[in-house]
């Protein structure tokens, strides 16, 4: 990516963090794919290509962090609902703790520089 050297590392960072944002959305409720995707992409700067979330969900399922069940919908095809598993919950809790430390550490360096 030419415009801005910061893009590429940020893309990779975002990709690594995204799955934990998915787990966070499922912390208190079960969501179906489309709903989940729209909630993520409604927040600016989180998702660049909505379609890439589906392979991510598939991976989370294979890792045993989420489980799914099919339910009928009144307005279209059956929906696959995603729910957090106990091991997904543990992984999320671990990440949240690590992330706060990491964020604070990064801010220690970046935060002092510019507030223009």
């Amino acid at each position: 990516m030419e415009p801005g050297e910061a893009r590429l590392p940020l893309t990779q960072l975002r990709r690594g963090v995204l799955e934990f944002c998915v787990l966070s959305l499922l912390r208190d409720e079960e969501l179906y794919g489309f709903d989940l995707v729209r909630r993520l992409s409604d927040v600016d700067g989180m998702v660049t290509s909505e379609g890439t979330i589906y392979p991510l969900l598939s991976r989370l399922r294979r890792d045993g962090w989420v489980k799914t069940s099919w339910r009928e919908s009144e307005s279209g095809p059956p929906r696959r609902y995603y729910a957090l598993t106990p091991s997904g919950r543990t992984a999320l809790a671990g990440f949240v703790e690590e992330w706060r430390r990491f964020r604070d550490a990064v801010e220690t360096f970046l935060g002092t520089e510019d507030t223009t």
Binding site: G33, G51, P55, K67, E72, G94
Partner: protein, 250 residues
């Protein structure tokens, strides 16, 4: 070509490109991915506020990203482990998805950048932790057994084969309640028809009519092949329906 045709064509072309790009994935996962993206488009259309015209559709597909991007996200990081390919898909899957290429073990994407960490070391081994969720999440032995018993149960284990198949289907969470009800209704029809026919023949006896009378030959025994056909076809019919519903949900 009118507006609806044009937007449908946009979507069809997009899904076809996706299916092609996804050749590197195991067949089950490719079918699943295409189905999920298709469902996404259907859901988006259903929840759209205004007109779902050509411009709207283009925006929708832009937001999804290119098929190549989506497939790259599927092959990125973890190579599909071989055990995911060891479960043979039922025949209906092959009808829904073209046969895999010989090179399916080697996704065409470059190796992932070292920064991307898709599975932190805290991740449990899926074989242990994921075993009980996996039956709920996708199909496996239970679903294959249900479909197989429904398909051939009436011939192999007359009387109980189809019923056991149905029972397994109800235990599985891979189908919705509506789908299970429909399959059950079809099987029930296959069971009811021969019973009713038998009753008709027996009542002929009771009325004193000889079995060979023209009435029972045409009304009862004459229908025998048809009755057998209905009873024999409903099981495979239900099995085929369930297998098709399943084909994309892996």
């Amino acid at each position: 070509m009118n507006e609806t045709d044009r937007t449908d064509r946009l979507v069809d072309d997009y899904l076809r490109r996706l299916e092609k790009a996804a050749y590197a994935l195991p067949p089950g996962r490719r079918a699943e991915l295409v189905l999920e993206i298709r469902d996404h488009i259907v859901e988006a259309r259903a929840s759209a506020d205004g007109a779902t015209d050509e411009a709207w559709t283009r925006t929708l597909l832009d937001r999804l990203g290119t098929p190549e991007e989506i497939v790259a996200a599927a092959t990125d990081g973890q190579q599909p482990p071989p055990q995911h390919q060891s479960v043979p898909p039922p025949t209906a899957t092959e009808a829904a998805a073209p046969p895999p290429p010989v090179t399916e073990a080697a996704p065409p994407t470059p190796p992932p950048p070292p920064v991307t960490q898709t599975a932190p070391p805290t991740a449990p081994p899926p074989a242990v932790q994921g075993s009980h969720v996996s039956t709920a999440a996708r199909w496996g032995g239970l679903e294959i057994a249900a479909v197989a018993l429904l398909a051939v149960g009436a011939f192999v284990l007359p009387g109980v084969g189809s019923l056991i198949g149905l029972l397994l289907a109800w235990v599985s969470s891979a189908w919705t309640t509506g789908e299970k009800l429909l399959a059950s209704a079809v099987v029930a029809l296959g069971t009811a028809v021969p019973l009713l026919a038998l009753r008709a023949v027996l009542s002929d006896f009771r009325m004193g009519a000889p079995v060979m009378s023209s009435f029972s030959v045409s009304g009862g025994l004459g229908l025998y092949p048809v009755v057998i056909l209905i009873a024999g076809l409903t099981g495979p019919l239900a099995a085929g329906f369930l297998a098709i519903r399943l084909s994309g949900r892996r």
